[in-house]
Each structure stands twice: as structure tokens, then as C-alpha cells.
């Protein structure tokens, strides 16, 4: 029996992995330092390191470190082992620099480079035509996104006369509404492409040709760049309320449609892909509400969640007997119990995250989402007949409270660290649009809980068809597949 | 056998009998064919042994239920037996197996003529 004929030096991958973890620890140090001293650092006009930079850097280096360590075993034996690590580490550095980039040209350049590297990783398997097609598709999407970003920043530079982000942002108030809407529109579109929001989701849902660790890093790190972009240029986007409302609507569309897509997916990776589109939609919605710190908290926590689920995507195979699908009509008492639990949960959430009970703003939507989650958790627990009723009664607060506290810690930490950053804008006031979006969330929740969707083959077909990957990226003949 | 007590001589009715021998893995196909053909019933013998064109076939094997032979018997009128022949002939173009059709006689005709006509379809 022979051992590997591919000569793996393992040297560079090991160095990259160590370096990534060193970067991660340095970031933690810097973050602590920043929290204590509270001063930003600059490197000429190129870089500007603030709280947002450090938070994003921490997430990127942590997820990248995990992916590096994971892939050193998982990718063992791959012909593209070294190339994979070169790209992965390169991508990590690019994203790190992007979080700190201040010079507008540098920002655009890094953005484009990030897209190019990511597309290359999607097509890591050179001999597989469908992987190459997926890479091509992503590359065009990113090229388009980079062009939109370049246009936005060119207008911004032209209008403000500044060549850095930190120089331009203080002057946006002096810009005309037309210019602001134009820049914000271009920026939002670029962010939507990067975060794979509808209608720009195609590249992401066609990207499963990427090795699992690439998907983990992509869904946990790289789609987040859209959120970073909006947060970085928050003053531009937040200046015109109508733009913010549009962002809320765009985000909500992705959140609700993609979450519905997820229901009909049968393969684990596309299911996760649809979930990412939905979660990114929600994150953008949070931006549109002016809760940029909440958006950043969301993309960090979602990153952990999604990276975990991708890395463990081989674990789903379990023996299940078929069950008839049921949707239960809950009795009144249990409805009251769960309803009260949910409202209390929402109250705790508002209190923990410092939202005003007296003067509600767009944050009501965020509370609403928490209320729905707690409501659903409580309903699920109450239906779990395997547990004793005493256990069920204590289980809900026992699970929900620590989770809320954990979230509040992250959120308040981010809010504190970015308190002086330009993204700390005031949340928009509550408007009719917010009300409609909130109502949609509740309606959809009720509709699916009551089983309204069953027996609707037309809707089912529509959801399945609109969430298909690009035709050229599907391996319809096994003889076309190639492992390396 | 209970309804025969009074008549000293029974009238015999002519019918057709079909015997089919196939490999164990075709049992399902043949069984479904008989079910759909409208015959009122049939008999199955499993683990049949014998020698045929492709050599000797052992009957009962302890740890292999796929390699054994299965034999079917059915009695019905000409048209239903013909339907079975039509549905089997193409199979024997590429699978080993045999069928024999012969004239036979039965006493209780009603028992052998299925109530409904031929059926087809399924999931």
C-alpha cells in the first residue's frame, strides 16, 4: 500500500494557519486596547483603524482561523491543497485590509480583489466544468459589484473632494439630495450583490461547487462585506430617509422570500445558501432601520452559525421514518401561555438592548422578530410531549433568557465599540413602511404555522424554480464531474 | 368441496392453465402481471430446483433468496391467459425463464373467472 505521491510540504499551510491565529489574537489585543483607550489609529491616508475595523477583523480572523485549521485535515490529499491555502490566506488578508481601508481607491481595489479571489476559490476544482461555470458567474457578479462601488465612490470623491472615507463622510451633509440618492443607490446595489440579496442571489446559490471550507468562509465572512459597506458609509445611506425605507423594503423582501425558499430545499448546502440570503436580507433591513450596530451583531452571529452548519454539513444523515406533515391548531390556554412568554421575552430584549419603551422607533421591528422567535420556541417546547410538563415549563425561560443575555452582550459591546464611529446614526422613526414589513412577518409566520401553504402546488413550484442554481453549474452528466 | 354433494356427475368446463418459471428476482414482476391480468387467483412455488437451458438451478439456498427459481400456476379463460402471455413474452427475450400453456378442465367455473375485467395502472 502506497502513501501519498503528491508531495505536500504542509509547510505554507501550517504557516498560514499559525499566522491567521496570530492575527486573531493581535486583533483581540487591539480590541481590548481600543475599548480602554478609545482612540482610532491611522496609517497615512491608506488605513484607518476604528472599532468597526477591529470587530470585523476579529470575526474574519476567527472564522478564517477555524477554516484554516479545519481544512488542514479536511482538504488533505487534494491536488489543490497549496493553491487553496494561498487563496484562503490571501483572501483573509484582503478582507482584513478592507475593514481598515480608508483611501477610496484602495477600498475599491481591495473589493475587486476580494471578489476575484473568492470566484477563484469557487472554481478551485479546475477539471470540473460546472465549477468553472460557477466561478465565472461569481466573477461577473463581483465585477459588476466592483464597478458599481467604483462609480459610487467616484461620485462621492468628486462631490466632496475627499479621497478618503474619513475625509468624505463628514462632508456628506453638504451634498445635494440627488447626489446622495445616487451614491446611496449605487452603494446599496454593490452591497446587495456582495451579500447575495434578491435579485442578485444567483451567484451564491450556484456556488456549491466550492469545497465545504470555502463555503463556510464565504457564508460566514465574505457575504458580510455587504454589511460592512453599508455600515462604513452609513452617513451617506442614512442621510435620506426615503433611501433608508427602500433599504428596509429590499432587505425584507430577501429575508422573507429566501426563508420561504429554504422550506422547499432538499439538499443541505442550498438550504444553507437560501438561509444566508434571508439572514443577509434581515441584516440589511437592520441597516435600513438605522440599527447598524445590530446589523453588525447579526452578521457576526450569523457567521458563526452558518460556518458551523457548513462545516458539519456531512452530519445530516439520520434514519427517519416517514411522518404525515401536521400543522396543529393550538388550544387557547397554550396560546395564552406562549403569547405571554413571547411578550415578556420581547420586553427583556428591549430592556437589555436599551430600546425605549416610551418612544418606539424602527427598533420595534427587531423586537417583533425576537418575540416571534421566543413564541415559536415556546410553542415547540410545549408540543414536546416527551418531556414532563414541569420540564417544559422551566425549559423555555431556561433556554431563552441566557440566549437573550448573550445576544445583548454582543450587541451592547458592538454598540459601545462603535459609539464614536460614523455608523452610529440615530435610528429612523417608526413609519408606515415599518408597520407593513412587521405585519408581513407576522402574517407569514401565521400562514406557515397554520399550514396555509400545504396543497398549493403552484406556490411550491414557484419557490423551487426561483431558487434553482444557474443551469450551467449543474452536473447533469456524471461523466462531466471531475474531482480535481 | 362442500357444494358438490348432490350431483352425481360434475360438468367439466374447459379452461386454460399457464405455468411460469422465473428467477426469484422476477417474482414481483410476474405477480403484479397476474394481479393486473384479471385472473381470479394463482399459486406460487418458491425455491424450485431443476435443470434448464442454462444448466442446473439449485432450489433452496440458506443465504440467498435471489438466485432461486419461482413457479406460478394460474387457470383462467383464453383471453386472460393470452394477456399474461403478451405481458411475459418480451421478458423472455432477455431473461431466462419458461412458460407453458395447456388445456385444462375445472368443475366450478365461477371460481376461475375473475369478476372484473383486466386491470392496469398503479402508482
Amino acid at each position: 500500500m502506497t502513501l501519498s505521491r503528491l508531495t505536500f510540504t504542509q509547510l505554507m499551510p501550517r504557516i498560514y494557519t499559525r499566522l491567521t491565529w496570530v492575527l486573531c489574537f493581535c486583533t483581540i489585543g487591539a480590541l481590548v486596547g481600543h475599548a480602554v483607550v478609545g482612540i482610532d489609529a491611522s496609517v497615512g491616508t491608506l488605513l484607518h483603524i476604528d472599532g468597526l475595523t477591529l470587530i470585523m477583523a476579529l470575526v474574519v480572523t476567527f472564522v478564517s482561523g477555524i477554516v484554516h485549521s479545519f481544512a488542514r485535515r479536511y482538504m488533505m490529499g487534494s491536488r489543490h491543497f497549496d493553491r487553496f491555502f494561498d487563496r484562503l490566506f490571501g483572501l483573509t488578508l484582503v478582507v482584513l485590509l478592507l475593514t481598515a481601508a480608508d483611501h477610496l481607491v484602495l477600498f475599491v481595489g481591495l473589493w475587486a480583489l476580494m471578489g476575484w479571489l473568492l470566484a477563484d476559490l469557487i472554481g478551485l476544482i479546475r477539471g470540473w466544468p460546472q465549477a468553472q461555470a460557477a466561478a465565472r458567474r461569481a466573477r461577473w457578479a463581483f465585477l459588476g459589484g466592483s464597478a458599481l462601488l467604483a462609480a459610487a465612490l467616484a461620485v462621492l470623491a468628486g462631490q466632496t473632494g475627499a479621497i478618503t472615507i474619513s475625509g468624505a463622510l463628514p462632508r456628506v451633509e453638504s451634498l445635494s439630495v440627488g447626489a446622495l440618492v445616487g451614491i446611496a443607490g449605487l452603494l446599496t446595489a454593490a452591497a446587495m450583490i456582495q451579500s447575495a440579496l434578491i435579485p442578485f442571489h444567483g451567484w451564491l446559490l450556484s456556488s456549491m461547487t466550492a469545497p465545504t471550507p470555502v463555503s463556510a468562509f464565504m457564508h460566514a465572512g465574505l457575504v458580510n462585506a455587504g454589511g460592512l459597506l453599508l455600515a462604513r458609509f452609513a452617513p451617506v445611506v442614512a442621510e435620506v430617509p426615503a433611501v433608508m425605507l427602500a433599504v428596509v423594503v429590499l432587505g425584507a423582501i430577501s429575508a422573507l422570500i429566501a426563508q420561504a425558499w429554504m422550506l422547499v430545499q432538499v439538499d443541505v448546502k442550498r438550504q444553507l445558501g437560501c438561509s444566508t440570503v434571508a439572514q443577509m436580507g434581515f441584516m440589511v433591513l437592520q441597516c435600513g432601520l438605522g440599527y447598524f450596530a445590530a446589523a453588525i451583531a447579526h452578521l457576526i452571529l450569523h457567521g458563526f452559525y452558518k460556518a458551523y452548519l457548513f462545516l458539519s454539513s456531512g452530519s445530516v444523515v439520520v434514519m427517519k421514518p416517514p411522518h404525515a406533515e401536521t400543522s396543529d391548531a393550538a388550544g387557547l390556554p397554550s396560546l395564552v401561555v406562549t403569547g405571554i412568554t413571547a411578550v415578556v421575552g420581547g420586553g427583556v430584549f428591549m430592556w437589555l438592548t436599551g430600546k425605549s419603551f416610551a418612544a418606539p422607533d424602527g427598533g420595534v421591528l427587531l423586537t417583533l422578530v425576537v418575540v416571534l422567535a421566543v413564541l415559536h420556541a415556546a410553542r415547540t417546547m410545549l408540543r414536546t410531549t416527551a418531556l414532563t410538563s414541569a420540564m417544559r415549563a422551566v425549559a423555555v425561560p431556561l433556554v431563552v433568557l441566557p440566549a437573550l443575555v448573550l445576544y445583548a452582550l454582543v450587541y451592547n459591546g458592538i454598540a459601545a465599540l462603535t459609539a464614536t464611529a460614523p455608523m452610529a446614526v440615530d435610528p429612523a422613526g417608526f413609519s408606515v413602511v415599518h408597520g407593513v414589513v412587521g405585519a408581513l412577518f407576522v402574517l407569514l409566520y401565521l400562514a406557515f404555522e397554520r399550514g396555509w401553504h400545504r396543497g398549493r402546488p403552484r406556490l411550491y413550484t414557484l419557490l423551487l424554480n426561483t431558487s434553482q442554481p444557474a443551469a450551467s453549474t449543474v452536473t447533469t452528466h456524471r461523466s462531466e464531474y471531475h474531482a480535481h | 368441496m362442500s357444494d358438490t354433494s348432490h350431483s352425481p356427475e360434475h360438468t367439466l368446463h374447459p379452461l386454460k392453465k399457464i405455468e411460469i418459471i422465473v428467477k426469484g428476482k422476477r417474482e414481483r414482476f410476474v405477480q403484479e402481471l397476474l394481479d393486473r391480468s384479471g385472473v381470479s387467483g394463482y399459486t406460487i412455488h418458491r425455491n424450485v430446483a431443476g435443470r434448464g437451458a442454462s444448466g442446473f438451478h439449485e432450489g433452496h439456498l440458506l443465504f440467498n433468496d435471489e438466485a432461486s427459481l419461482v413457479m406460478f400456476f394460474a387457470v383462467s379463460d383464453q383471453s386472460k391467459i393470452q394477456a399474461i402471455i403478451n405481458g411475459l413474452s418480451p421478458l423472455f427475450e432477455s431473461s431466462s425463464g419458461v412458460m407453458f400453456v395447456s388445456d385444462t378442465q375445472v368443475v366450478r367455473l365461477k371460481k376461475f373467472l375473475g369478476a372484473e375485467g383486466p386491470q392496469h395502472g398503479g402508482a
Binding site: 422547499v264 448573550l406 452528466h477 | -
Partner: protein, 812 residues
């Protein structure tokens, strides 16, 4: 039934014969992807596979070159085989020629793309076993009906108006779709469409034939239904139902005019001859010392392992630790049963694919151990409630957003622990397992015969005394058992791996890809039954009163052998069991150290810890080598192979020719376990020679679909066979040597000959060179006789020779 419909039905059946069967991931049975072509000679079948599936049937040049350069292909054997094939060029030149020939691209089946995509989409949606929250509507009415209900709304079909007013029944719909096709072309057309998505089609073939699958019962799919939907989809896309270039006509073109036999054939034969010659020479040297009379001293304990090639290694190391005797027996222990684990409503079929299950065995809580059961139940209920909560929140349209925020931090921590500290995690898991009692400590197996009240149409519950005695007797007769030690352990096997969709491919193949523990426990309980012992005694099998039967499970990923909760033991027995436990630990250390030599990055000194890490590590794609390397199936008493290192490449079935005058035991072994061995061998063979068409590709881009299989990347055909990481050290180097199985039987040649003669299936497999057969005849001075296709036997002219000799054959 109208004539054309009944004929069409037979045409579907005929066309489907070319397909193999593919099982779902939960019971991933090893099968030959070309099983449907096994009645053809091997070379013709692989040529058909080339035409039908564009699959390669012989090792590729790189694999042959590597084997040639490392000496795994012996020069003399190669010269002999090349000569036989009339090839005169030098080996190096021939390799170069093959390389050039391989570069000529095989034309692909063009134009099928949109149709394949549409069908893969609906098939995946239909067969889904609980991955989607919202399942395909109308699936309980069957595939065709469900498809008909949704296809009307499928806006990707340009001519979907053509789908209006389709017949309700699939057979009629299929006939309608074929109305423009000549009846003479039906079979060819249907075969073309089945071969278009061979992965999905072979999955349908399995499912439509399985009588016991609960999912098939709830949502039936038939080949006819699939074809009806496919052909009408073709019409709705605007594609002809019968493509102009049906492959039967196009055969000449697709084979590139290469009508001479493939150039790789002599190389494969020489590779096989090299391995076989070494193995047979070793066995011949050992044969004179074999004593089958059974007068040796009584061993302390006897352990029965599965015939699986992995058992060979641990048996050898265990035997070195003390007075133990080991046996090889099919790992389902001869019990054709379904098993229902405690607390589950799943019926697990736990016998080989060629055997129909005939009994149901349930694991039920024992009245005397209610306390332990309650502890177990509490923890399991909590775990299940947690999982259910997570799944429900993850998939909810509105709750998912809040859930992600609330749980993200925990997922981050879990990710760090699993990636950075897999070894530590393993220790924690084990501590946890000890904390929660396992079902065998508080459950009994429902052996008592009872009517299945809950499922009147299901299999009968339990075993009658007569049936128990029958299975026990079969076991001892087949293995040629001569005397009983105080402790006898039936050892099933299972694999524990993390994050591995193919875990079941590493479990016991004889138990249909499930753990072998339940069968081992059942047989042990049967043999401890006094009524059974009385019966057996009457039939000449005397089990001493001081003999106790235990069950154990060998975890192949870590080589731990864990005894199940034993019955009451005498002091003497308890002493033996204590010593055995200790010796099993030693055997484990030595086994893992031997395995460490072929696991990349592992070192013998840390072998135990390394296998533990591999078993628990979610980043590990090669937790163990499974049955990779398998190349021989030895039917002989252990005395023939004891002390020989067979490198974990041989299935070992115990057999004593002296106790089987009529050959019934040998016949059962050769028609049962040996045939299953051939299935396994062929799965490994074809997955290695063409990992894309017959294997399932690289794990790193696999995507589990519908909880039943995997597809690659964004979807398409279902991947069957084994993943690259189960077979290859890296993308380019195979670990598994793709060799066809050699059956070696230690028995009189005449007896073997008669068995082959009267079993058509066996004869076909040997005659068509799907596997080979060699007999070492103890009645003729252990002379070696090799079966030749056609039914003759070749006997080497001289005494055992070195590998330099060519193989002169002498037909009898």
C-alpha cells in the same frame, strides 16, 4: 390489460435490467454498479458501461503505471498476459500508447442537460426523507401523480400546455409518450432514458423493489412512473422522445472505432496474477500443517468475527495475546431479521441484500432494570427536545432571524472546540456515554414468538424454538465448529465516525450497512437458551454446560471491542472474560499500530489516540480505510491462515471440509457470503477505476440531498458508489488496488466443482470473470486447482513456484 400496455410493462422491466441498484445513505449497501450486466462477460459489460454511462471499466494509465513501477505488477506475469492478448510491444511503450489513447475525448450525451436538470429537481424533491420542511405536494399518491400536479406550473417548461390532460395512470401516460415511437424501438428508447441519470435511476430501481422500505410505502415511486414523467417532460421541453442517435446505433462511433479489447485488460490480469500468486504460494506453504481433526486443546475463549477484511487484522493480534480461537462468519450471524432499537419506530433490515428478512426482533426495556431505563429516557428525551427545537427554529420563516442572533455565540464556541480540540471532545463524549446508560444494559431482545399486533402485515415477531435451533445449528455447521470453549463471543462490527455521510458504508455489509451488534446479541441469546441446547444436542452438537455465549461489537474506526451487557457468569467464566477484556485492549493497541502505517499523518506510537481523534473529528475525511484493499475471499479453517499477515485484504470465512461431507455448508457459503463479497469487491473496484461515473467523487464538494444520497456541488445526478477519500490516499494515488476478487476454497476440488455446476449465479460470475476461484485440495496433497471460464480446472504442473514463472495451464 390491453396488449400494448402489458408489452410496454415488460419492456420497462427489460430495459431496467442494465441498471444497478443504489441504496440510501442510511443503509449504504455495497453493490456492483454494473450488476445488471453481470450475465455478460466482464469485458463486454464494461464496454456496455462505456456506451451507456461513459464510464471507464479498467484501471487508468496512471494507476497501472504506478503499480508497474512499484512492482505490484510482476514482469513475468505481465509478459505472459500480454502474450496471451497478442501484444508484442514493450510495457513502457504500451503505457505510453494508452496515455495517448486516453486523451481522445469520449463524446458526451449532448442535449440532455435541461431534461436531466428538470428530472433531478423533481426526483430529489420527491424522495426527500425529511430534509425539506415543506415536502413536495401530493407525494403520497406516487411520483407520477405528484409530478403531474406540479409540472403544470413549471414555467421552465416551454411547452407545458402539452402536459394538460395527461392520463392518470403512469403506464398509459408512458404509452402515450411513446405513441410516435415504433414498438421495436421502445426498449432502446427506455434504456436510453434510464441511462441518462444512472444515479437516480438506480436509486429508483432499488426503492421500487424494496418491500420493506417505509418511505416507498408512504410515497411510492416506480420505474414506469419515472419514465412517464421524464418522457412527457421531454415533450414539454420540446425535445424528441427518441433522440436520433440512440446509443445502440451510435455504439461504433462512441467507442472511437476501438473494437479490439481494451489495452488495459492484460495489465489488470497481470496485476491480479501477481497478488494471487503471492497469496496462494503463502497459503500452500501453510497448508501441510493444517489439522482439521479437531483434537487440539480446549481454548479459553472463542470469538466469532464478521468475514469483513478488517476482522483479519484484529483477529491476528488477538490470537497472539492468549489461548483464543477465532472464527469468521457472515456478520449478520445467519439471522435474516429486522431490528427495532429501543425508543425508535424504525425497522432496520439487518441481513444481506440477497436475503429477505423473515423475523422481527425488538429491543424492549426489561422489567428488572426500570431505573436505568428511566435515566436513559430522561437524557435522550432532553437531547431530542433540544434537536427538535433547533430544527424548528432554524426553518421557521420568521423565527429563524431571532434564533440566529440568540444562538450564534454558542455555534461559534462549538465550532472552535470541534476544530481545535477534537481529541478532548472525544474524551468528553465518552465520559458522557458512560453517564447515560446504553440500551443493552437495561433492554432485552424480544425473542419470544408473538403475532405482530401492531403491524398485522409485517414480519412475525421473535423466533420459535425450532427456528432458534435452526439458526444456531446453521452457524456451527457452516463454521465447522468442533468444540466449545467456556466463553464464546459473537462479535459484530460497526464504525463510529463524525460528519461522515458514508458512515453506513463502513458498518457491517452483511447487516445491510448497519451495526452488527443486534444480530450478535440475538444469536448469543439464542445459544444461551436451554431449549435450544437440548435441541442441538439431539442433532449432535453438544454444548457443554460451562459454556456461555456473549455478544460484542468491534468498532472498526478505533478497533475497540466492547462486550455487551453479559448474562450471569460463573466465577471461571468471569475470570476468562476479565482476562479477555484486557487482551482485547492489547490487541487493539497492536491493531491500530499496524493500521497507523497506512493512515496519512498517523504514527504507530500514537496510534490509539490518533484513531480516537479520527473517529470524533468533524474535519476528518479518512477516518478509516473500510474494506479498501479487499482482493481475496478465503473459505478455510483458521488453521490455514493463522499467523499469516494478510494485510487486511482478505475476507475470511471459517469452513471445515471434514465436517461437511455433502457440501451443504460450502454451498451456503459460496452462494451467500461469497456473492456478497463479490458485490463489495466490485463496488470498490469500479469506484476506484472511475470515481466520477461509478463512485461518488470527492467528499470536499459533496452535498447531501434529501437525506438519502449525495450529489456534487449544485446538483444533478445522484452520486453512487464510494467517495474518493474512501479509496485514495490523495487525488491521484489509489489506496485501494482495483483487483477482482479471488475466492480460495480449502476443500476437495470435486465438491467445489459440483457446487459451481449446480448454481447458475455462481457459475456465471466465475465464467464471466467477475471473480476467480482457486481450490486447495486437501485430499490431493493440498494441490492448487484454478477454475477456468467454461468449467475446466487448471492445475499447475510443478511444485509451488516463485513469482518469476509464467502460468502454464492444463485443462482437465
Amino acid at each position: 390489460m390491453p396488449t400494448d400496455l402489458s408489452v410496454l410493462r415488460a419492456r420497462v422491466e427489460n430495459a431496467a435490467k442494465v441498471l444497478g441498484r443504489c441504496w440510501p445513505l442510511q443503509s449504504y449497501i455495497a453493490a456492483n454498479p454494473l450488476a445488471g450486466l453481470e450475465k455478460l462477460p466482464f469485458d463486454e459489460a464494461v464496454a456496455q458501461g462505456e456506451v451507456l454511462y461513459k464510464g471507464r471499466g479498467y484501471p487508468n494509465v496512471a494507476q497501472l503505471r504506478a503499480a508497474w513501477e512499484t512492482g505490484e505488477i510482476d514482469a513475468a506475469h505481465l509478459a505472459d498476459r500480454l502474450d496471451a492478448h497478442g501484444l508484442t510491444d514493450a510495457p513502457a511503450q504500451l503505457l505510453d500508447q494508452m496515455e495517448t489513447a486516453a486523451e481522445t475525448p469520449v463524446p458526451n450525451r449532448s442535449g440532455d442537460g435541461p431534461l436531466n436538470r428538470a428530472m433531478a429537481k423533481w426526483l430529489a424533491a420527491f424522495v426527500d426523507q425529511g430534509q425539506a420542511t415543506w415536502a413536495m405536494p401530493h407525494r403520497h399518491e406516487g411520483f407520477y401523480t405528484a409530478w403531474r400536479a406540479v409540472a403544470r406550473f413549471d414555467t421552465t417548461l416551454a411547452h407545458r400546455d402539452r402536459l394538460r390532460d395527461l392520463p392518470k395512470r403512469p403506464l398509459e401516460a408512458l404509452a402515450l409518450a411513446l405513441s410516435d415511437v415504433e414498438a421495436a424501438q421502445w426498449e432502446t428508447t427506455l434504456r436510453y432514458h434510464m441511462a441518462a441519470l444512472p444515479g437516480w435511476a438506480s436509486f429508483i430501481k432499488w426503492r421500487s423493489q424494496d418491500r420493506h422500505d417505509a418511505w416507498q410505502g408512504a410515497h411510492p415511486i416506480t420505474m414506469t412512473g419515472y419514465l412517464a414523467a421524464r418522457l412527457h417532460t421531454a415533450r414539454a421541453i420540446g425535445q424528441p422522445v427518441a433522440p436520433a442517435n440512440l446509443f445502440d446505433e451510435a455504439r461504433g462511433a462512441t467507442r472511437n472505432g476501438r473494437d479490439q479489447p481494451p489495452m488495459a485488460a492484460p495489465w489488470l490480469e497481470a496485476w491480479e496474477a501477481t497478488y494471487r500468486e503471492q497469496l496462494l504460494a503463502t497459503l500452500e506453504r501453510a497448508a501441510p500443517a493444517v489439522d482439521t481433526t479437531g483434537v487440539a486443546g480446549r481454548p479459553k475463549a472463542q470469538l466469532v468475527f464478521c468475514i469483513d477484511v478488517r476482522s483479519e487484522v484484529i483477529r491476528r493480534h488477538l490470537e497472539q495475546t492468549g489461548p483464543y480461537q477465532t472464527f469468521g462468519y457472515a456478520g449478520f450471524f445467519g439471522l435474516p431479521m429486522q431490528f427495532q432499537p429501543y425508543g425508535s419506530d424504525a425497522q432496520i433490515t439487518s441481513c444481506p441484500p440477497i436475503v429477505d428478512p423473515k423475523h422481527r426482533i425488538h429491543e424492549t426495556r426489561s422489567r428488572t432494570r426500570e431505573e436505568t431505563a428511566a435515566t436513559h429516557d430522561r437524557w435522550v428525551a432532553l437531547g431530542q427536545a433540544g434537536q427538535r427545537l433547533i430544527k424548528s427554529l432554524k426553518h421557521n420563516v420568521a423565527a429563524a432571524f431571532g434564533f440566529v442572533e440568540a444562538s450564534g455565540g454558542l455555534f461559534g464556541m462549538a465550532m472552535a472546540v470541534r476544530t481545535l480540540m477534537p481529541g478532548w471532545l472525544r474524551t468528553q463524549q465518552q465520559a458522557w456515554t458512560q453517564h447515560v446508560p446504553s440500551p443493552d444494559t437495561f433492554c432485552d431482545l424480544s425473542l419470544d414468538r408473538a403475532l405482530a399486533a401492531d403491524q398485522p402485515e409485517g414480519l412475525p415477531l421473535g423466533l420459535s424454538t425450532e427456528e432458534r435451533s435452526y439458526y444456531a445449528e446453521a452457524a456451527f455447521r457452516l463454521m465447522g465448529w468442533q468444540q466449545f470453549a467456556p466463553v464464546v463471543v459473537f462479535t459484530g462490527h460497526a464504525s463510529h465516525t463524525a460528519n461522515n455521510p458514508y458512515n453506513s458504508s463502513l458498518d457491517c455489509g452483511a447487516c445491510a450497512g448497519h451495526p452488527g451488534g443486534p444480530n450478535a446479541r440475538t444469536l448469543a441469546a439464542v445459544c444461551n437458551d436451554p431449549a435450544v441446547r437440548e435441541d442441538l444436542s439431539a442433532r449432535g452438537i453438544d454444548i457443554p454446560d460451562d459454556t456461555v455465549f456473549l455478544a460484542a461489537e468491534h468498532t472498526t474506526s478505533t478497533d475497540v471491542v466492547q462486550l455487551f451487557h453479559p448474562p450471569a457468569l460463573t466465577k471461571a467464566q468471569a475470570g476468562i472474560v476479565d482476562q479477555l477484556r484486557q487482551d482485547l485492549r492489547t490487541a487493539r493497541a497492536n491493531t491500530t499500530a499496524e493500521r497507523a502505517r497506512v493512515l496519512q499523518g498517523s504514527r504507530p506510537a500514537h496510534a490509539v489516540a490518533d484513531t480516537e481523534r479520527r473517529a470524533a473529528d468533524w474535519a476528518e475525511t479518512r477516518p478509516e480505510w473500510g474494506l479498501s484493499g479487499n482482493a481475496a475471499f478465503i473459505i478455510a479453517p483458521r488453521a490455514l491462515t493463522a499467523g499469516l499477515s494478510l494485510d487486511g485484504r482478505a475476507f475470511l470465512h471459517a469452513y471445515n471440509w471434514r465436517t461437511d461431507d455433502r457440501g451443504t455448508a460450502l454451498e451456503t457459503i459460496m452462494t451467500g457470503p461469497l456473492v456478497v463479497g463479490e458485490w463489495i469487491n466490485m463496488q470498490y473496484y469500479f469506484s476506484t477505476v472511475d470515481n466520477a461515473v461509478y463512485g461518488s467523487g470527492s467528499k470536499i464538494t459533496q452535498n447531501v440531498v434529501g437525506n438519502v444520497g449525495v450529489w456534487q456541488g449544485n446538483g444533478g445526478d445522484l452520486m453512487t458508489g464510494l467517495p474518493l477519500q474512501s479509496l485514495q490516499v490523495d487525488d491521484l494515488t489509489p489506496y485501494h488496488h482495483p483487483l477482482r476478487l479471488l475466492a480460495v476454497v480449502y476443500a476437495p476440488q470435486g465438491r467445489v466443482s459440483r457446487i459451481v455446476e449446480r448454481n447458475a449465479q455462481l457459475r456465471s460470475l466465475f465464467d464471466h470473470e467477475w471473480m476467480a476461484l482457486t481450490v486447495l485440495d486437501p485430499e490431493q496433497g493440498n494441490r492448487r486447482c484454478s477454475y477456468q471460464p467454461g468449467g475446466t480446472w487448471a492445475i499447475p504442473s510443478a511444485e509451488p513456484r516463485g513469482t518469476q514463472d509464467t502460468e502454464p495451464t492444463l485443462a482437465l
